[in-house]
Amino acid sequence: MKEIARRVVLPFFAVLAFFGCEKTPAPPGATPPASPSPAAASPASPAASRSGESTSDAEKALHIFCWSEYIPQQIVDAFSADTGIKVSMETYSSNEEMLAKLFAGGGNYDIIQPSEYVIEGLIKESLLTPIDHASIPNMKNLAPEFTNMSFDPGNKYSVPYMAGSVGIIVNTEVVQDDIKSYNDVFQEKFAKNIVVLDDAREIVSWGLESLGIPVNEVSDENLAKVKPLLEKWLPLVKVFDSDSPKTALLNGDVALGVVWAGEGAILLNEDEKFKWIVPAEGGHLFVDSLAIPKTAKHVKNAELFINYVLRPDVSAKISEAFPYLNPNLAARELLTPAQRNNPASFPTADQLANMQTFKDIGEQATKIDELVTSLKAQ
């Protein structure tokens, strides 16, 4: 589990971050001089980011707290070289891990990377800094279906980074059946040949979808309806793994599974025997965005960075490293046809329209966790 390696490494980085936060008296980053910068005119040229210095904070530092395996180090290094801003990056492997650290008050993060339902909650508890759109001209590169989404109307607090879905991956050398839906995956004949994400909310959402219940309607009543179905499904699973479900598939230990599309895209690139299927029930779409916490000390630097990763060439490089659904239209044009036609990375417009996104479900998350744990231990 990579995530444990990270837990060991994390304190080390926490110490680094601590020393990174030099004793410089923090500048009042909240109210920067909002000079209409010439940078806005030509955002894509490297010269622009240099002239962007005028809009950076006095202290040239930036603390990023992001998902692991999501922002390539080379991008961060290039940003540092361009702007002279020293970046420290810490990673997490679940939204809740990020929240726990944010609430504990550690880190002084300038950028976080929450998923849609967490953005919704963070806005509700007014824990985010509004984003100054004037300093992020590259927002124009984003596809309209990923801006102005329901969790943050008008993108006041967040800028989409990458999106992705959850779907079915099949090793066609072992499984010749025509798999179309979650129900097709969880069949007796595939018993102990299945890998799924080790994520209670995901698992419950597949059950809800196959019963035709919207994924966010997680009332006690609906959970009771889903229970008998999951009671049949979960004993068929061989591996629960959210971190690297592709491992079990690549090694031949399982033949099919329900995994992140990013993992699926990598498998498709790796071997032609793998086939990606968007579940007939619709599937789940997630959108991870960049946001600036209320406690951030380097707001201007954060905005510079957000604008930087929205540059088409930069965003295309990110896609190359991590083949998720890139919401950046200008960057998509720079991708190779093979990258663009990867069905796991880029579902069709119809498929996209059928996918549901998660909303914050508050304390029901506890009940979902209990339900799945009890079924796993049955």
């Binding site: 809740e96 209670a200 031949g252 304390e363 209990e370 796993k376």
Partner: protein, 293 residues
């Protein structure tokens, strides 16, 4: 210990038995600070957290409620605890069956051989256990080294699924914790006086009797220490059971970890953690009582 040289320097012995002076406290300060900071304070925090409630996105309110403990005693969670204790008991048992003869052999070997063997036992500990666990994945997987060997040697007709089974999980646990069983037993065996064993034989004891009534009691401190060093960490271990067992069935360490993350219920995770602490104290108390007898 100081008894033998007491006639010669009884005054010096008396000095050692005095209550610790300023210098002793000074020397102890780092240890005490470490204990307070990283053992006592976190334990108090854990207990306090277990009496709270989590609301909304992650804010914890200290309401001093016992409801987390009431919930923790539900069969759903107790069952997970039973599974984890089961893993730990089996692991400890296998480690003892393999570890005792190994430790005994090492302890009774000639000095040069002994040093080589004990180094060999410790060498794996120089690498992170995670890396070694990943190595096991490449060995045990269906396309892995072991299956390839067995198939090419025509021992089995086609690859079998070894990885992601409870067997693989126990294998991983035994592999990782075996040195912690061997080392303390080895220390006891090394101190074992051969004259005592010879005396047992001279007095007509059979090998079995000499083993059960002389060797075992004399090496018991090592056996108990080894058992504890294997049992306690293997209850809470979830990295190995998840990576090699496929996370099925769930273990208590995994469940607690999830309470602090996706389950969004830190107070409940803390309550489960406190239950686990109680089990540790109980097993410590059991071994102390045994030693007292």
């Amino acid at each position: 210990m100081t008894g033998s040289d007491r006639p010669a320097s009884s005054q010096a012995a008396a000095v050692f038995q005095r209550r610790p002076g300023l210098l002793a406290w000074l020397v102890l300060t780092p240890l005490l600070a470490w204990l307070i900071l990283f053992v006592i304070v976190p334990t108090i925090m854990l207990v306090l957290l277990s009496l709270g409630e989590q609301k909304g996105l992650g804010t914890v309110y200290f309401t001093f409620t016992l409801k987390n403990y009431v919930r923790a005693l539900d069969w759903t969670w107790l069952k997970v605890l039973v599974i984890s204790v089961g893993y730990a008991v089996v692991t400890t048992g296998i480690c003892m069956v393999i570890g005792f003869p190994a430790a005994y052999f090492i302890g009774r070997s000639s000095e040069p051989l002994r040093n080589v063997l004990i180094t060999l036992v410790m060498i794996p500990l120089w690498t992170s256990f995670l890396i070694r666990t990943y190595a096991w994945i490449t060995i045990l997987s269906k396309d892995g080294i072991l299956n390839a060997f067995l198939v090419s040697a025509r021992i089995i007709p086609e690859p079998i699924g070894i990885l992601y089974t409870p067997f693989a999980a126990v294998l991983g646990l035994v592999y990782n914790f075996l040195p912690f069983m061997i080392l303390p037993i080895y220390t006891s065996v090394e101190r074992l006086d051969s004259a005592v064993i010879e005396a047992a034989y001279d007095l007509g004891a059979s090998p079995l009797r000499a083993f059960s009534q002389v060797i075992i009691p004399l090496t018991q401190p090592g056996i108990v220490a080894g058992a504890l060093l294997v049992f306690v960490p293997s209850i809470a271990m979830f990295a190995i059971t998840n990576l090699m067992g496929g996370g099925d069935p769930p273990t208590i360490g995994d469940v607690i970890y999830k309470q602090f993350t996706s389950g969004r219920n830190q107070p409940f995770g803390a309550a489960l953690g406190c239950l686990l602490l109680l089990i540790f104290f109980f097993s410590l108390w059991m071994t102390r009582r045994q030693r007292a007898e």
